[in-house]
């Protein structure tokens, strides 16, 4: 008996759908439960980021970068200021560098927490999602303590920071890390090794390494496919070359390399590595140092262009900045990691069941704000 083919049906997942993590429309061609083609339609959240940037000054761009990847605003700021400092040849002092790394790593944990929780939610596990949000709130508290905002920070400035660390921040962060580390193990026990979860994710949506590179997939998704590639190690920016940490790579622990489970587990391990970096950065944080020290009076970069990549929680976040010598960017392009990650969905989701498509979508950990910009 061969495979039974039924009538094909076109199904629109989204723009409003609980599992699309924003307003994304996936046009899915299905035969019963089996999906033969996935076509993403973007642009529902397009806010003309790049056009905006050509009309505001360089410092005014930063609040807009916040709003691109609204789950990892700190790293978005970070990427932008690193690129701008490269363009303007500004060197910031040690304290600023340390605070930036601390913020970026806290943000990475916060972003992964939400990504993992939402993936669990896509699979149907509700409880881990709320446990993740509970811990994420603590990180947001730390951010609120620092800069007053919980989600969109506008914290890192070209050449400095908007505020120095508050009194007691280091202690609070240590307290958080001590609290959080056992919670990861609990989470692993509750969800990651759960047999139903493993069945749903292992061997599903395998993304081979060469396909991943060709599609420009980066960050945890690429690492899950077996490529040891982390900009923090391979093209170190800021002061990441001083810290000791490993790059977790997908090993096919429950199925094959590059499946949903690997993409999930790499993020779990990455949180542990971030904790390592945080502990080192907190212990070596210089006590002295003015965060406004190297703030330029006027941001007028010299004529020229720069493409600078940083490691955001979702992958390689690149800013291409073309300057014409004025205080307004001539062209600013954001190469968002989620954009490239989503482009691979048709390649890996075709042929799987409807439920798997949503699991794969969740495992890519996309943020629509960043895709549509």
């Amino acid at each position: 008996m061969g495979v039974v083919h039924g009538e094909e049906m076109v199904l629109n997942i989204g723009p409003q759908h609980p599992a699309t993590h924003g307003v994304l429309r996936l046009q899915v061609r299905t035969d019963g439960e089996v999906v033969s083609e996935v076509t993403p339609y973007l642009g529902y959240l397009h806010r003309c980021f790049e056009k905006h940037c050509e009309n505001v000054t360089y410092e005014q761009v930063i609040p807009f970068t916040d709003r691109c990847d609204y789950l990892a605003s700190m790293t978005n700021n970070f990427g932008y200021v690193v690129a701008m400092e490269g363009l303007m040849d500004i060197k910031v002092n040690e304290r600023v560098e340390h605070i930036r790394v601390i913020m970026a790593e806290l943000q990475r944990i916060a972003s992964h927490l939400l990504g993992l929780g939402a993936f669990g939610l896509d699979i149907g596990a509700f409880t881990p999602f709320l446990h993740m949000l509970r811990d994420r709130e603590r990180i947001l508290d730390l951010f609120e303590m620092t800069c007053g905002a919980r989600l969109l920070y506008n914290y890192m400035w070209v050449g400095g920071l908007s505020h120095d660390l508050p009194v007691g921040f280091v202690e609070s962060t240590y307290r958080f890390l001590d609290y959080f580390e056992p919670k990861i193990d609990e989470f692993v026990k509750l969800l990651v090794h759960n047999k139903i979860f493993v069945e749903r994710t292992a061997d599903v949506g395998r993304l081979p390494q060469d396909v991943a590179i060709s599609y420009g997939v980066s960050g945890p998704n690429l690492r899950a496919s077996g490529q040891k590639w982390d900009l923090r190690k391979d093209d170190p920016y800021s002061i990441y070359d001083r810290f000791e940490f490993d790059i977790p790579v997908g090993e096919g622990g429950k199925g094959s390399v590059g499946d949903c489970w690997d993409r999930f587990y790499v993020r779990v391990l990455e949180m542990k590595e971030s904790i390592k970096i945080l502990r080192q950065a907190l212990s070596s944080l210089p006590k002295e140092g003015d965060v406004y020290q190297s703030l330029p009076k006027k941001i007028r970069p010299p004529i020229g262009s720069i493409y600078k990549r940083t490691e955001s929680p979702r992958g390689d976040l690149g800013y291409y900045i073309e300057s014409d010598g004025t205080n307004i960017p001539y062209r600013l392009k954001m190469r968002s990691p989620a954009f490239t990650a989503l482009s691979v969905i048709d390649e890996i989701a075709a042929g799987w069941l409807l439920s798997d498509v949503l699991a794969i979508l969740g495992s890519l950990d996309i943020v629509l704000g960043e895709i549509d910009r």
Binding site: V56, E59, Q60, V61, I62, P63, F64, D66, R67, T127, R134, E137, D141, E144, M145, T146, C147, G148, A149, L152, N154, S162, H163, D164, P166, V167, E186, K189, L190, L191, H193, N194, K195, I196
Partner: protein, 193 residues
Amino acid sequence: MKRYFTDIWATLTTILGGMGITLVHLIRARNDNVTLQYPEERWPRPERNIGFEHSNYNVIRSRLHVDMDDCIGCLKCERACPVDCIKIETKKAPNRGEDIKDIQHIGITTNGTRKAMVVTRFDIDMTECCYCNLCTYPCPEECIFMTGGPNAKKHPIDYEFSEPDRSDLIYRFAKPGTKEGIEKIMSENKAEV
């Protein structure tokens, strides 16, 4: 065949293990819970003192407030705003640094700057404000701030400022009648000359 039974065994053990974790949470609900009973309990306001002057500034991202007695009408905040939600109009003051009683204009700021301008309009559209705090930094008189700033006593931190009408969220800080008042004074001055 072996795989078949190990799979069943793994399913049972991992699910029971997970149920054990949730049971612990269920039993310890009283200790673990993180919920805030919202209208009765409020989020504790983050305590810190840092900013222009480290002793008297709380970093809060809330609604903007302008201390009009200190505003000199330099338009720096208007230019800094990335979303153009601040609109300022000024008129040249007849005499620099002098109070004008009729329109409650105070000539010298608390920093001692003598005002050359009378601010006839200072509108902030809070529906558009993106709470980026960029307008507060260039202010030379530190008169625009997110509430919870230097005048925290007068303006309690308040994240809930919903209004039934959208136009109520356009905050008009200029003192009422300033525009008409200053025009009248100017025309009188002209007449005198």
